[in-house]
């Protein structure tokens, strides 16, 4: 196998704490993962687990305090501002909240053209590219002249996807991109992500709290719990036959949209909880 597109080894993220000589707070405690070209790595975890921080560290938005990140064989752990800007052609992002991820006072066209113009595209070429992008994500051409507030959540997320695609990146970090959307919108946006991947061969680091979403789009899945990846592997294995107790709990906690099957799952969950409580008791000697 050729070298992966992105490789993180022992990645740690710590935020400085305000105050004199206070030690920084570590959010991510050394995680290893790889993403191949054209592949989707799903990162699943609950709030506060550090899953979003991992994505932000790759984007250079969170301070890396240890370990290395390699992109295409090149160390990108500590880049200068100029090198990081150059990397924006390669690594892009789609955020969770389609409402705050678009500047409310810029037209869709201006938002989409910005990454192109800062890379020195001329205006006519950028305009043509913007129309292509809108078409690609299934928005009408006249959307370019309109403001974000005229669009629904799902449409805004399409704009955000178009913005990420604009420079033709090879990796997109997707931070909960469908969590704020309605059920039916969610399904169509997911399909769009998969279609784009098939057409362009872009790789995704897909961060979500929703196991069903991650299962749907990922080739491989990593489960994050308290700043560590506790389990990682092919999607089927991790989401059907998990080994780590936390993954098992997570899997059984998600309700199935089927009353009979859900009743069964609820019983399984109660049983698992009893077993794990007993194991904890044996391991620590004190009731959890």
């Amino acid at each position: 196998m050729t070298a992966p597109l992105l490789r993180a080894q022992g990645l740690k993220v710590a935020y400085p704490v305000k105050g004199f000589r206070k030690p920084p707070v570590e959010i991510v405690h050394g995680v290893d993962f790889e993403i191949g070209a054209g592949e989707t790595l799903g990162i699943v975890g609950e709030s506060g687990s550090g899953k979003t921080t991992i994505g932000r560290a790759i984007l250079g938005l969170a301070p890396i305090s240890g370990g290395t990140v390699e992109y295409d064989g090149r160390d990108i752990t500590a880049l200068s501002a100029r090198e990081r800007r150059a990397l924006s052609r390669e690594i892009q992002v789609v955020f969770q909240d389609p409402y705050s991820s678009l500047n409310p006072s810029l037209t869709i066209g201006a938002t989409l053209a910005e990454p192109l113009i800062v890379q020195g595209w001329d205006k006519a070429k950028a305009t043509r590219r913007v129309l292509d992008l809108l078409d690609h994500v299934g928005l009408p051409k006249n959307a370019a002249a309109r403001l974000p507030r005229e669009f629904s959540g799902g449409q805004r997320q399409r704009v955000a996807i178009a913005r990420a695609l604009a420079p033709g990146p090879r990796l997109i970090v997707c931070d909960e991109p469908v969590s704020a959307l309605d059920l039916s919108t969610q399904a169509t946006v997911m399909d769009l992500f998969i279609d784009i991947q098939r057409e362009t061969g872009v790789a995704y680091l897909f961060v979500s709290h929703d196991l069903a979403v991650v299962r749907h789009i990922s080739h491989r899945v990593g489960v994050v719990y308290r700043g560590e990846i506790v389990e990682q592997g092919p999607t089927r294995q991790v989401t059907k036959d998990p080994e780590h107790p936390y993954t098992q709990r997570l899997l059984l906690a998600a309700p199935i949209a089927d009353p009979t099957a859900q009743q069964q799952r609820r019983a399984d969950r109660a049983r698992l909880r009893a077993v794990q409580a007993e194991q904890d008791l044996q391991a620590t000697g004190v009731p959890a």
């Binding site: 403001l147 969610q186 979403v213 309700p255």
Partner: protein, 598 residues
Amino acid sequence: MSTPTAPVAVPALALEDEPAEVRRGALQRLVRDPQAVITGLIILTFVVLGLLANVIPQHGPNEARFEAINLPIGSPDYPLGGDYAGRDILARLLHSINTAMVSGLIGASIALVVGTTLGLVGGYFNRFRTPVEWGATILQTFPGMLLLIVLMPLTGGDFRWTMAIFGFLLTPGIYRIVRNQTVGVSRELYVDAARVSGVTDMRILGRHILSVVRGPVIVATTFLFGSAIGVQSGLAYLGVGSKEIPSFGAMISDGFRNIYIAPGQYIWPAVALGVLNGAFVLFGNALRDTFEGSQPKAEKITATAVADDFEAETADGTGALLEVRDLGIAYRSPSGELNEVVRGVSLTVRMGETLGLVGESGSGKTQTAFGVLGVLPTEAVVTRGSVVLAGRQILGAPQAELNKLRGSEIAYIPQEPMSNLDPVYTIGSQLVEGIRVSTGLSKAKAKERALELLERVGIPDPQRTFRSYPHEISGGMAQRVLIAGAVAPKPKLLIADEPTTALDVTVQADILDLLRDLQAEMGMGIVLVTHNFGVVADSCTSLAVMQGGEVVETGATIDVFAQPQHPYTSMLLGSILDEDTIRDDSAMVLVADGKDPR
């Protein structure tokens, strides 16, 4: 990936320009505001009069004539008379306007430029934050007026230099506004997205941040303009600065000295200064209202308005706990007509039953729930239908009766547990207050009951949680606290509005288990508003699917999941990402190599 499409009739893309529409909107609102128009016209009149200072009067401002000393109003060539030194009061007044305007311009523009720059730098770049903040604080501690007088030898008595220094002293005011706004905006995701897009910091500041900061800064600058004029006049009144420069302050001072000989002389400059300063303050207020909108008033819960021809349908005893019939809820559009968001909804809930109210955003499910609770916003109008709880008509019932009902027979669990707890009171005091109001227990008894309930809803250390403030507990714990409060009076009906949407799935499962246990124990009916079919399958005995304000399908949960009747329900069920769809196509490594996606 992009086959170059021919640019057929490329619409005019505003790629670089800011949307003119936003600014035009603000300007239009400003023109419609009488306060802005009147004060703006006053300021404009002053400016024009000042510009005509060398045209209207017959004399120069410092031209003193013996025969003009203390001339009365209306004398030939001296329309406002002459002062103690024989100078034309009108000429001095008009030239004073120019002095005032130049003072305001210098002071305000220096504060604007320096303050905005410091604010952007200190707010956006973390490493400059502390030094800039210190600088602003030190600047703020200088005693302004005194410093200006002490520095008089340096400025040589020229009011323009004095005002330049005063501009620096005003800087912290603008700096604070810009800095706070900048800190807020730089946390917005679109700024992060711009950074990831390779946009330089300068461009982010100019394009994304300055446009947000602009409004409040314009408002603040207007106020500073007024205060610069005030300070210049004050200094001149004290006699600081050149005697050659006509100014309101110097004129008032002269008028006072002469008050026993010609009592009217100080009135003209005093009135002019007062009107001008007042106009700036009021104009600034009008600007603020336009840019930032008036502050929203805290909403008071009142009995929901009913339409004029509304008549509650008579309650017929079906034995159900909650019987909603043909409920209509409307909002008044700006043009005055009623816009129905809930259109003829009918629901039935029996004791011990859980009804799932399912729909996508905007389907009217939350409005329906609020309609049953009787806590719709004041703009809402109930147009038709009936809501009968345990044989009693709720719609149109007096507020006092509804208050008694809420918290005793109907209880409510919100979506965002944290925003429904008051951050300044302990969990315990909020629970006790609710329990005392709904049950009338004594304080000690209520505390006992609160601790009991906290333990019942699965909080590990009830004593500690009782003493905690909301920020000290997690979202899941906060939701348990709210459930404890809701079930305290043993309600008959519990309305839960997306109670687990904001929570992690493992916490969600625990909360749903808790609700199920509590229901089995107390036998209450539950209306569970949700968009998650997994939650419905887990907890609901029956469900109602809403679309566009109407219930399109109702039925027992098992039946609806097995055989949905309405196409919308089928569509929703079909959109669920089920457990068996696992992505199994392999990654497309080959295609990605050597292909330029542009």
